[in-house]
């Protein structure tokens, strides 16, 4: 791979990193509004408020960059970057289509993706501790408990697919995927999707933010661009989670026809469909209480993921 080609690939990933979350965010505005019998943004940009998120970005950029006096300055400033970067890096290894349509094909892509996603908890704790605010700290501790807990079912269910495909490479998993896996790996799919939702702190798993109890959790003290970066991280998180679910469980670029030429389109369609499900769940479900959150993880998701592992192992050894 030449240097120019590498640059092009990285540039394309950055473009995807900056546009897909905006599309998902705008879709969230509109889908959530219509699910609640509203219209959502209608003015920005003229046509059905398409430029609302750009306007929001301009607004955030104009705001005062405030750091509380008691805050740990460098850590406070670094936290948004640490929140955002892992998702950008994960996008590097997600295959968009067959063959060479992946920024960086890694043999241990799945391992890499899950490891990098785990960095999220660090940014959360950095933001929570450095803010010097009790609400931030409470939110951060809740977040740490949640993220560490849900890491387990996430990894277990991903391991099930890796075992079924016999490889850790993401393109390899898609290549080995067969439609009947949808049924075989269905429990793993549900566990992975739920745990991933909790990993990106989306409602109904937004206990660390819980604006009705903790002001805004670990984001309480953030304003302006840094807050916007955290928000962007949340939406990139949706894209990354949807992409991982697509690649691991929904057959990535495999579609009803023309996999070779239209593979990227199938991948994108599936990513948007999963993102829609993420938004849909947010609208339809209330926030889980802290004890319900932990119970769901340890008493439902982990046993199901372990059972799926046993099932996968049995089928793999039998065939």
């Amino acid at each position: 791979m030449s240097l120019a080609e590498l640059g092009l690939r990285v540039a394309l990933v950055v473009v995807a990193f900056l546009t897909l979350p905006l599309v998902v965010g705008q879709a969230e505005h509109k889908v959530m509004a219509h699910m609640q019998g509203r219209l959502g943004p209608m003015y920005a940009g003229g046509f059905h408020g398409w430029a609302q998120l750009l306007a929001d970005g301009v607004k955030f950029a104009q705001k005062e960059d405030l750091i509380p006096r008691g805050a740990d300055g460098p850590v406070f400033r670094l936290a948004p970057a640490v929140a955002l970067l892992p998702y950008l890096v994960v996008l590097l290894v997600i295959p968009l289509g067959p063959g060479d349509l992946v920024a960086q094909p890694l043999d241990a892509g799945l391992f890499f993706a899950l490891a990098v996603l785990g960095v999220g908890v660090v940014s959360l704790l950095m933001a929570a501790w450095a803010s010097a605010n009790k609400y931030s700290l409470l939110g951060g501790l809740r977040g740490a408990a949640q993220l560490l807990g849900y890491e387990l079912p996430l990894v277990l269910s991903a391991a099930s697919v890796a075992m079924a495909a016999g490889t850790l490479s993401l393109p390899g998993i898609v290549a080995a995927w067969r439609p009947w896996w949808l049924l075989w790996q269905l429990p793993a799919l549900l566990v992975f999707f739920t745990a991933a939702l909790a990993e990106i702190r989306r409602p109904p798993f937004d206990m660390p933010i819980a604006d009705s109890e903790l002001v805004f959790g670990y984001l309480t003290e953030y304003t302006g661009l840094r807050f916007a970066l955290f928000l962007l991280a949340e939406y990139v998180g949706i894209v990354v989670v949807a992409a991982l679910t697509t690649v691991l469980f929904l057959g990535g670029w495999k579609g009803p026809f023309a996999d070779a030429s239209l593979g990227w389109l199938w991948t994108l369609l599936k990513v948007f469909a999963v993102s829609f499900a993420v938004i849909w769940l947010r609208v339809a479900t209330p926030r889980l209480r802290e004890d319900q959150l932990q119970r769901l993880c340890w008493q439902a998701l982990v046993p199901v993921a372990l059972g799926q592992l046993v099932l996968t192992a049995a089928v793999v050894t039998a065939t």
Partner: protein
């Protein structure tokens, strides 16, 4: 209690159904609202009908109607002496005090006050909400025609009285 996750599925179904329906939002500044008949927006004054009887000003619960007048002598040809008549000098309603009860309109015996559905008269200064005679008169153009009588409702008092045979007419005289 049914299966675990049943509630979540129900919630998903409800939101999905709502999404397929049209939103109820009225885009007000762009699209004028369709107000119900007899909306209470602002009170209009038909100056010619006012006899300065002061009923409205006295019945007003928060005293937001200001009326000033003087007496005029009207010489009627053929009459023994000139008659006195009230002439309206000032009629103002302070809409910063008005509570839109509509009592003034109810009590006006000469149909000088009317409800108009216009509501876009907000001001930056509270004092500008005091609408003087001219402004109150301008609202007259926006007063809608009275709604038709409910065909299945009771007939109006006047109608019933007109239908009743006059006392002493044929059939009466017990």
């Amino acid at each position: 209690m049914g299966l675990p996750g049943e509630g979540v599925l129900q919630g998903l179904a409800v939101t999905a159904r709502t999404m397929t329906r049209r939103a109820d939002t009225r885009q007000y500044p762009d699209v004028p609202p369709d107000l119900p008949p007899r909306s209470r927006g602002v009170i209009a004054l038909r100056e010619e009908n006012c006899t300065v009887c002061m009923l409205c000003a006295r019945e007003c619960p928060d005293w937001c109607i200001y009326i000033e007048s003087h007496k005029e002598e009207v010489a009627v040809p053929g009459a023994a002496r000139p008659r006195q008549q009230n002439a309206l000098d000032r009629f103002a309603i302070d809409f910063s005090l008005c509570m839109y009860c509509g009592i003034c309109i109810e009590v006006c015996p000469f149909d000088a006050l009317f409800w108009s559905p216009e509501f876009e008269y907000a001001e930056y200064d509270l004092r500008d909400l005091l609408h003087e005679q001219g402004r109150l008169g301008e609202w007259m153009a926006t007063v809608p025609p009275p709604p038709a009588h409910d065909p299945r409702g009771e007939p109006a008092k006047e109608e019933a009285a007109a239908r009743r045979p006059a006392p002493g007419a044929a059939g009466g005289g017990a």
